[in-house]
Structures are given as C-alpha cells and as structure tokens.
C-alpha cells in the first residue's frame, strides 16, 4: 500500500503526540500525585442517608467537620437543593493540611465543584465520593452543584471557608 511520504511523517508525529499526552497524565499521577476520585469511598444505601440512620453505615457519618486522629474529615450530603453543611453554614476547614471529603446524595445525582479549582466530583446516590484536598491559602471558595438535579438546580450552592489552623475548631471526633 502506497502511503505518501508526508502522510507517513504526519502519522509518526501524531503517534508521538498521543504517547506524549498519555505520558504527561501518568507523570501527573505519579509525580505531583494527582489522584482520581475512585471507589475508595464505598457504597451506601440512599434511603439510609435520607432517613438519617448514619449508625447503620461504616463509611458515612452525620454531616459535619470532624477533627480526628487521622486528620480533618468532612462529611457532606448534597440534596435537592442544598449542601449540608455548606449552604446554610459554610464548611470551615484549616489551611495547610490534607482534608478528607466524603460526599453522597440521598435523592438524585448532584455535582460538587469548588468553582475555578480542580476540586470536582460527581455525587451519585449509593456511592460515597471520597477525595483529599490541601488548601494552601486561607479564603473562601464557592461550591456549585454542577449536575442538573431538578427545577431548583440553579439555587444549589454553598461555601468552603479556609481558616488559619489556630482559628480552626473541628467538631467532636
């Protein structure tokens, strides 16, 4: 099969480009350590969350911020149409240390995105999204539900407030 010289060259350059792209992602994972949201959060029956029977699960606690021996743990419920905590009271976390988020939904699929950052996950009923974030600086971040969740979707928002470690008061552990 005759393939034009330029076309062969293009084919080769394209392959190099593709391999280079994959290489940068692999580097991102093993170098800076950018982890994916995965199945580590476990599953939970949505009706258990809806009824508030948190004691029936071993991977989700009553919504809130906890200062534990393993670090700061944040449990968030995304529901039509607010984040709990997050909407009526901001999620207050300390700067400079890894914060573990656990987010789930008792009703429909939602999103959890700190606008303009790479803190971004789907919130799917039955699944607990678990991820770790380190906020280097103090300040405020808006939380946006970025998945359509019903006719009031555009009202679903919240806030994360990052404070100095000295000002941080975690809940009971």
């Amino acid at each position: 099969m005759h393939v034009h010289r330029f076309e062969r060259l293009w084919f080769g350059v394209s392959l190099v480009l593709i391999v280079a792209f994959i290489g940068t992602i692999i580097y991102g994972a093993v170098g800076p350590g950018i982890a994916m949201v995965d199945d580590s959060g476990g599953t939970v029956e949505p009706s258990v969350i809806a009824d508030g029977n948190y004691e029936q699960t071993n991977n989700f606690r009553e919504p809130g911020v906890y200062d534990t021996e393993d670090g700061v743990e944040v449990y968030v419920i995304a529901r039509q149409y607010f984040f709990q905590p997050g909407t009526t009271e901001p999620i207050r976390v300390p700067a400079g240390e890894p914060i573990s988020f656990h987010v789930t939904s008792p009703d429909v699929t939602h999103g959890f995105n700190l606008a303009g950052t790479n803190v971004n996950t789907m919130v799917i009923p039955g699944q607990v999204a678990e991820f770790s974030v380190t906020f280097e600086e103090t300040g405020e971040h808006g939380i946006v539900c970025h998945e359509y969740c019903g006719s009031g979707h555009h009202t679903m928002e919240g806030q994360v407030v990052v404070v100095e470690q000295s000002e941080f008061e975690g809940g009971e552990n």
Binding site: H2, G28, D38, N113, V119, G126
Partner: protein, 585 residues
Amino acid sequence: MATEHGTETGFETEQEYVETEDGTRRRLAFVDRFPEAARTARICLWIAFAAFGVGALFGLIQALHRTNTLRIIPSSDYYTILTGHGVLLALVFTTFGIAGLFHWANTRSLGVSPTSRRLTQGWLWTMSIGTLLAAGTIVGGLFDWIPASADVLYTFYAPLEAHPLFYIGAALLIVGSWGAGLDWFLQYREWRSHNPDARIPLQSFMVMTTMLMWYLSSAGVAIEVVFFLIPWSLGLISQVDPLLTRTLFWYFGHPVVYFWLLPAYVVWYTVLPKLAGGRLFSDPLARVTFVLFLLLSTPVGFHHQYTDPGIASGYKLVAMTNTFFLLLPSLLTLFTVVASMEHGARQQGAKGYLAWLKDLPWERPEFSGVALAGIMFAAGGFSGMINAGMNINYLIHNTIWVPGHFHLTVGTAYALTLMAIAYWLVPQLTGKRLQFRGMAAIQPFVWFVGMVLMSNAMHRGGLAGIPRRTAEPQYDQVTFDAVVGTVGEMRIQIAIGGTLLFVGAMMFLAVMAGTWALGKPNSQLRVNGSIPEPLSGAEESPRVLDNLKLWTAIAIALVLLAYGIPLYDMVADGILWPGSVPFPE
C-alpha cells in the same frame, strides 16, 4: 478516470444524461436513477430539518435566558427547554440526518436500490413514532394540563424520572436506526451477489463500519432503557442503581459522538475533495480511519466518568489510553482533508505555500460550509484533548466549557457539514435547483462567526468554573474569576453568538423551504453527483481492510476488555443495588 477538473464542481455534466431509445436525452441525477431511495432520503432530511428548527429556537431561548438578556420563561422551565434542545438536536436531527445521508451514500456507491420497501417503511415509521413520543413528553413539561413530562435532559440520569413514554420513544428511535442499518447491509449483500470479487465501494464501506460501531455501542443504552428505566418508570421494579445506569449510558454516550461525526467524515473524504476541484488523496487511509473508529469508539466511555465515585482509577486509565489513541484517526483525517483541498486548489492552478487557500471556491456554500466545519472541528479536537486528560479534566468537568466543546463538534462539524452538503445533495434528491443561492452563500459564514463568539466565551467561562446546565449562573456565595476577559463580556458574546446561530439556522431552513416550494422539478441542476476516483485507489490497499467480520470481532473483544470487569463489579453487589427510587416521587 480522467475528467476535466474544471467541470467537476460546476453544472451537471454530460455523464448525467443518457440517450433513450426514442432519441431524447434523459437525465440521470440521483432522483432519476433511484426515485424510491431519493424519496426516503428526502423524508429523513425533512424530519431532521424540522427538528433542527425547533431545537435551534430552544437554543436561542436558552442563550438569551442564561445570559440574562431576555427571559420569556421561568427558570424552572429552562430545563424543559434544555431537554428539548438536547434531544431534538443531538438525537433526532442527527439520527434522521445521518439516515438520509447514508441512504443516499450507500445507494449511490453500490448502485443498487434498497431491497425491501417494507423494511424501509418499517424503520422510518419506528424512528418517527419514537421521535413523536419523546418530543411530545418533553413539551408536555411546559403545560400543566399535559400529564406527561420528561425534564431529565438528554442524558436522563436516574433517579430523575421521566414519563415512560419518553423512554419508550427514545428506544424506538434507536431500534428504528438499527432497522435502517439492516436495510443498508441487505443492499450490500445484494450488490455482493453480483460483484463477488470487487472491493467494497468506499462510501458503502464507511456506512457499514459506522453502523457496526453503532450496533455495538447503542446496545448499552438499549439495555439501560429497556431493562431498567422503562420497567422502573412503570413501577414494575422499585429501584435502579444510578451508577450502573449512567455507566450504561456513557458506554453509548461517547460512541454516539462518532455516530454524529462519521457522516461528516464521509462527506469530508468523499465529497469535499471534489467540491475543492480535486480528488481524494488516499482511499486506503480512509478505510484505515474508519476501521480505527469501529475498534476504538466504544471502549472509551469511562472518560465521561473521570469524576464519578464507585469506579476504580485503573478502568479510567484504560479508557483514557484508548481515548488518546482515538485521536489518531481524526489526526489522519485532518491531513487528508487539508491535502485533498490543497490538491484540488492546485489542480485549478493555485500557487504558493498558503496562497492556494484563497483560490478555493469559498463562494459556493457546499464547499465553504464543509470547509469551515472542518476548521472548527480542529478547534473542537483541541478542547477535546483537554477533556480527555484524566487530571486536567477536573478543572472543566461539567462546566460550560463542555457544551462549548461539543458545539464545535456535533454543533458544527456535524451540523454545518450536513447543512452545507444539503445545498449540494437536496437538488439531486429532488431534481430542483437550489433557491435563494445568495442567502445560502453567506449562511455558513454566519454560522461560523456565531459559533466562534459563543464557543470561545463558553470555553473561557468553563475555566472560571461557571457550570453548564443551569438557568441562573449567578450565586450569592460563589464568584467566578475569569482567566481571560470578563464574565460580563463572555455573556455578551454568548448572547450575540447564540442569536447569530439562530439566524444562520433560519437562513438554512429558508433556503430548504424555498427549494422545496419554489424549485421546479426536473430542472437542469447546477451540481452533479459524480465523484472522481481517489489519487490512490482501493486496489492498492490490503484486502483485509474489507474484512468487516474480523474488525467487528476485535471491536467486541476490546469492549469486553474495557467493560467486562467494571460492569461485573457494579452488578456483583446486586443488579439493582445500591438502588434509588424515582424522583420526583
């Protein structure tokens, strides 16, 4: 085949006429040779264009509502309009447009009529009834007195629930498209019985590889809808697993993108070179491209679920690797499209490294539209590479960047190519000259400018974190910091761009309606359907390329590798567990 290049893009040629026995000349445009197939293709295109008109109107309403320019509906109805926009454009306009184009392409390249009139009517009716059911339930959401609604967007993620008729309609549309594919395969079998040793004609090869990919991938959404969502919405089962159903959706949701794009590729490979005044660079590489799409389009769906919990990182990594290799056929296409256009221009006497670009027939809408669609697709490809990167995707996932991206791909690469080729094809399907040619000549540029304005602003808005799929992207607790430009300026560009796109859509529909209503049947046409032989023909390629059974088997094996274990993981804890009841309850 030696032909004078100068005449290929012009009026119909002598080849389009034959002497009949009584001494008169008879024309041989597509509609004359295959009147029945031309009628089927016309019906498909008219339904596609009708859906396009309504979908475009919905798009205008959204663009003006979101940007707070003009609000004629309450924000709670925004999502009904958005569902209609997505379903009518991404599912109906595409599927019917593809059916019309493929019906023409397969019949033209095989030179054989469809074999069963009943089959043809069967799939046309199935697709049409499905469309009416789905569209009817969506529109029902706007009126309180209609007891049905489907405010679930075109991804219909459970546990948001639509009326059962919405799911049944969507299933019928897809099943109907399977019937259309069967029609084309039977046509091929008929042709093969008379041509036992010939290579598969290129357009038919493209139609069949696309449909094989479509069978393989649409099985996912068919299972989701038929086995889970329909029984669930009818109350026959009480719950479904939201992660499993959305995984089945995305199993289909990425290949459907290639189902939209490959018809555009058919045009870019087989018609665009001729419109540019030349011929296709390489038939064998066109076949390689389509085989790669058949192999790689489906085992990539997890790249839409990079931010989903419940799916191990390894599966996402496999999908990402496949996705990046899927760049290869598109990059090869980029080469062929540009090389074919340059070859065409040089055949017409153009010179220079880049000066040949201005010697292309930009005044002809069938050329300019297809070429502009190709240029925009290159831009869409680059933003798609960002989406495909597992970790950088975090920044833009579910932001307005994403619709900014796919308005370049399905919204321009497919849509503008179909509009442009309609200027060339509809005369051949109707025997009528194109009307309002002046309006047609500027229409592709109106679409292009509108899309440049809207899409660049949407991409930049996504970088600032502005979400997609929302009626009111203004919050009390959230501020969006633009990386480039300002949020206010983006809004203005989206509003103006969206309006221009609507104007472009209406110009196109005016040309089509004018041609249909005012064109005289049996006119001498300004276009001809002959397609010159490629520079490098099929005879130079290995015969294994035509072994569709082999490629299908490999495609299935790749799907099993990418999806077998993850799907097993999801159903191992119970097919319906962890499960959700329908919302609204």
